[in-house]
């Protein structure tokens, strides 16, 4: 399952949806796609039962807009701070943590995080971020192609 995350009307936050669009018609049968633009709590239900999930999300820039990070969703780096701020602040890290606590997190879960430069209301995706959409789509396709081997490795 491939999930694009983010609000298309908030500048570079819309990149997740653009990558999902770029994947249209190119994924093997049985791989679902969806775009989640608002309530991230819904992710807990969206991916329950899925064996392997890739999320594409925008990230706050740490210096290089358009830089792509591939993160293992089960890795410590994405653990949220304790004390859930509000439903407004319930994001991908919280959704992963909640699914892990419930035992319903997909066994394979990777996040492609793309550093954005701006998230203003109504702004378009920046040139730096738009320039990496195809590259991310290609990396996602290559990763999906490795999934059967990954599933076997997990079973082993």
């Amino acid at each position: 399952m491939i999930i694009g995350l983010g609000n298309p009307d908030r500048g570079d936050d819309g990149v997740g949806g653009l990558v999902v669009e770029a994947l249209a018609g190119r994924l093997p049968e049985g791989v679902e796609t969806m775009v989640r633009t608002g309530d991230m709590l819904g992710l807990v239900e969206d991916w329950a039962g899925a064996q392997a999930v890739i999320c594409i999300d925008a990230a706050a820039t740490v210096g290089a807009p358009g830089r792509v990070h591939r993160i293992d969703g089960h890795a410590e780096a994405l653990l949220p701070e304790p004390g859930l701020a509000s439903s407004h602040a319930f994001g991908l890290a919280e959704a992963i943590a909640l699914s892990r606590a419930l035992g319903t997190a997909p066994p394979v879960l990777f996040v492609y995080a793309i550093e954005g430069s701006g998230f203003d209301t109504g702004a378009p995706v920046s040139a730096e971020v738009a320039a990496v959409v195809d590259e991310v789509a290609t990396r996602v396709l290559a990763e999906v192609a490795r999934w059967p081997a990954t599933a076997e490795a997990i079973r082993a």
């Binding site: 709590l41 859930l84 509000s86 407004h88 909640l98 606590a101 419930l102």
Partner: protein, 428 residues
Amino acid sequence: MATKTIKVEYISRVEGEGALDLEIAGGKVTSAQLRIFEPPRFFEAFLRGRGHEEIPDIVARICGICPVAYQMGAVHAIEDAFGVKVEGQLRALRRLLYCGEWIESHGLHVVMLHAPDFLGYPDAIQMAAQHGDVVRRGLALKKAGNEILRVLGGREIHPVSVKPGGFHRVPTKAELAPLAEELKRARDIAVDLVRWVAKFPFPDLEQDYEFVAMRHKDEYPLNEGRLVSNRGIDLDIADYETTFEERHVARSTALHSLIKGRGAYLVGPMARYALNFDRLPASIQGLAAEAGLGPVERNPFKSIIVRSLEIAYASEEALRIIADYERPEPAVLLEPRAGVGYGCTEAPRGICWHRYEFEEDGTVKTAKIVPPTSQNQPSIEADLMSVATSMIDASDDEIRHRCEQTIRNYDPCISCSAHFLKLTVTRL
């Protein structure tokens, strides 16, 4: 005398941004102030000069949790101004849409935001490890409510089907039928939830509230009714401003609402319940009794029980509407005219009042919206004074935690009212 300051810099598990300052002098709590610093959002100004058809979609954006409340207040006000009343199955569908919002909003608050307070967890994620089943069922409630919004409103957040006079599109009976299975499950989950939350340890606190809610001649109130209180208010919604006033206070970007000459009042689930217990079906009244509630409940911490009861009620009501549904024409025709219209409905957090003045062609001349959380601010501060006073010798951490819990009793939607929370306690 020594000064002591306790701060909650950013209150968690509420919708929006705010803080709390407590001041303690000579062993007494001298001030409890809720500071709301989320920037004001100017929706009323955005609406000026817009066509009446645009209002439902603009006001829906005030809130992602309770967009239906804003849409319903708006369409009722528009219809009031243009002299049209929406009845029959269209009215029932609006009630169904609102039931969906109550179920998702209350489900989210009871399980994900409020229950962790009573069980000693910092958040629902930590709670999920020990209480996975409850969290799963809370998520199922939210999903069931959202599903009503999706089927009726076109999408889960900020639905797009509502228009003045009715809907852009109404579902077929066959499209509504699958909701019934999910709602039967939601009702069963809500009944279990009432029994579960009723066993929580509740702090001892009874407050002498003036409850304000809507009251309808035969329904538990959602979309329609008069404005009533337990101290004699009984008003047509158009006369709201004769009795209630909004005041700016420097510490809040949300206006404080007061009853003229009297002060604070309480809106929301506890007020609705206290003023409309007799309008609840016997099944819900029986469940309330089983949970240890009388017809009036004054302990704000027990709002979690009332909210759970309302989920059960909204699920039953939604099932009734679906069973009786026959597809109507999507909308009645409206002819714009110059005038003023009023709308007031029961949002999950309490009454949400709207007033619009229209030009002859239906353009908005002025708009005023009074959301529930701004009305509850003075009552939240009064509760905080009582709670902090009752535990003056406790540690700052204990006071801080209990005060945050007190604020969450209200499920405050600060984003709507400003429009989260820091707590500062000063001991003098």
